[in-house]
């Protein structure tokens, strides 16, 4: 049952695994070769993703929201686009590695146009790739393609940002101001219910929030109570967004 649920939640993965299964039954050689071809990318992922993890942490801790809004936000203008281009160009890794970083920057106030520039530059104009291009296709080829690509990337940023607005992006992480109780942490001590009987109640031995969304005054009270929770199971919006899917 657990496996079935997992597959339901990960449709993409299930489809890919199904494709492998079918090809393994019909043509085992094909499946083995396909899996072998994937190995290079697995190694690449293992080399890159831990760094991306740290990088998102570093950006989150060291760069204040204000700075990101000023330099990459809506009003950052041409300078912002250049910065986005440089950021994308000097980073390493495949395009999916750019997703966590871009998402964080977006959350901290970067504009959609600049995110498109970062994503595209991350994918196309990386320094070691350019060197490789010179080696096999010549400097003139590389230079011309680089110039055309950079112009295109800037135009793409502008076009995408006129079509896609911030409201079109999934809000999931930032907007809902809901208090979440991590049911697997909650030990049912009912401390929260005692401290705020109008806010919390115990259902089946686990704490639940009586009514959501909360007004700011209630939120402040909940925050106070959350600090007292012995197992830190009450997640107020600031950290509630950290919850991986399915825990709540």
């Amino acid at each position: 049952m657990k496996i079935l649920n997992f597959l339901k939640q990960n449709k993409f993965l299930s489809l890919v695994l199904l494709a492998y299964l079918v090809s393994f039954i019909l043509q085992p050689q094909f499946a083995t070769q396909a899996f072998g071809n994937s190995s290079y990318y697995f190694i690449e992922m293992i080399q890159i993703m831990p760094m991306i993890f740290l990088l998102t942490v570093v950006i989150d801790v060291l760069i204040p929201k204000k700075v990101i809004i000023k330099h990459l936000g809506e009003g950052s203008g041409f300078k912002g686009s250049i910065l986005a281009l440089v950021l994308g160009s000097i980073s390493a890794g495949p395009i999916y590695a750019a997703f966590p970083v871009s998402k964080l920057l977006l959350k901290k106030g970067a504009s959609i146009g600049n995110i498109v520039i970062i994503l595209s530059a991350w994918a196309v104009v990386k320094v070691p790739m350019l060197a490789n291009e010179v080696k096999f296709l010549g400097a003139e080829f590389m230079g011309t393609r680089w110039i055309l690509t950079v112009i295109s990337i800037f135009m793409m940023g502008t076009i995408v940002s006129t079509i896609v607005k911030k409201e079109d992006l999934p809000s999931g992480e930032s907007s809902p101001e809901l208090v979440v109780i991590n049911q697997s942490y909650c030990v049912g001590c009912s401390l929260c219910e005692n401290m705020g009987p109008n806010l919390f109640e115990m259902i089946d031995g686990k704490a639940t929030v009586k009514q959501q969304p909360l007004v700011p005054k209630q939120m402040a009270a909940v925050k106070n109570i959350a600090k007292k929770c012995p197992v830190n199971a009450i997640l107020v919006p600031d950290n509630a967004s950290q919850l991986p899917e399915g825990v709540a």
């Binding site: 990960n10 890919v16 396909a34 080399q47 760094m51 570093v58 395009i95």
Partner: protein, 160 residues
Amino acid sequence: MDPLTLSMWGITLVLTGIALVKNKEKTFQSMKKSKGMMSNMLGSIVSIILLIGFVLTLIPPATIEQVLGSSNQVVASIVAAIVGSITLIPAFVAFPLVGSLVDAGASIVPGVAFLTTLTMVGVVTFPLEKQEFGTKFALTRNGISFVFALIIAIGMGVIL
């Protein structure tokens, strides 16, 4: 690891150290947050990698070479752009492949279309992009990238 990745690692580690010294609590809190975000993406990333291997086996470099070298330039360019969109082969394979074709006298337009969509348009990464940024963003970005890849390719053909 290539030098760029290595130096990125170095810089990131130093910055992580600075973050830890500056605000240990916030760093750990941020790590928790990042862990949640990354574990949400991990399933998709593994799927992407398995899918890349699958597509590569389905459309091996030899087939791509055939497409890029075909005599009808317009068809070749569009097909090359499509093939570039659905495959994700490393640069050190793609550049020699296009290089050998150009050396052999083939037009550069399909080659450029292929190289550009290869990196900029991601059909296999689309599900993850959609999950993280929404359908509208993913569709618009990939669609416009595809069009611009063709424009870049034509531009290259005109200039060079």
